[in-house]
Subunit: 198 residues, 2 copies
Amino acid sequence: MATARTGRRPGPNRTRAAILAAARASFAANGYDATTIRAVARDAGVDAALVHRFFGSKEQLFAAAMELVVSPSELVERLLADGVEGVGERLVHALLTLLDTPVARAPFLALIRSAVSNEQAATMLREFLTREVLGRLAAAAAPDSPELRASLAGSQVVGLAMARYVVRVPPLADADPAAVAAAVGPTIQRYLTGSLHG
Amino acid sequence: MATARTGRRPGPNRTRAAILAAARASFAANGYDATTIRAVARDAGVDAALVHRFFGSKEQLFAAAMELVVSPSELVERLLADGVEGVGERLVHALLTLLDTPVARAPFLALIRSAVSNEQAATMLREFLTREVLGRLAAAAAPDSPELRASLAGSQVVGLAMARYVVRVPPLADADPAAVAAAVGPTIQRYLTGSLHG
């Protein structure tokens, strides 16, 4: 460990890094649900209030630890703020606009990569998605089987990302985001608010 | 290397294993399109006719090398044999029935895993899917943008597999295959034969 140049406490950048490292370790080892800001603060040797002040909520801490450039729950809430009507197309368009940017795509793909190769990472991602993303979609979905509706919507979103950015299937990989949103949006919309039987 | 008990040529099991090893190496290094049965035979030190006799087509050789229990192109052809109408629901139902079986699921997940973690494996999977699976779906799809239609259908299939078997999102992970087929089938069907604008 490097010795600090002065006798003072570590600066905010180093404290921030220590909190993020502790958060990453806890999310990976304990999953999303069992991780608490209090425990992350303890592991990082800081006060819980400082973690809240630096990062806000647990979800925002997760986003920062995973280097996501956008908080998924905030994105979903913003999209739902205009009402559930048309949210399918807005969601697909926002997602593609975001992930077409390499700096946003890399951490997203890293999350998928770790979930695919490692059981613990899959658990963490499942808990995170269920609590912070799919729960919000389910709350806006039709009252019959809202959780199933949200998970079906999630399946199309993940599949779209896999096909466009990982396997890069033509011509979907290079198709115009607006055209993809027009084609895939109604799928998400039907899962959330339409008939689940076609 | 073990010495053969007799001076005779290697038995069929060992020849088969040598062909499969050569095929795996070539598919991984050169991709699906650039791999030929002739080159695999040469690498395995056998006659190309023998590879054909043991495995059939290049696609069947790929399926055997990846330990897939069903040839994807044969599955798609069988589903399309009854016509394109209703193929979405039949496809989802057949896929879930297959992948709910651990012995069929493991090699499928291994393919996805390698594609997510490794650029060359992603290329191999993309070429394989495009040529052997999506091409057949595109041939049965509506005449406007058939390739885009097939790749959209592929995105929902991959996403469904990711959500149900990798991330295991509830309640989709445990939902009845027939209920999932009823909900997701119309998505595949619309991508293939419906309006791409909702």
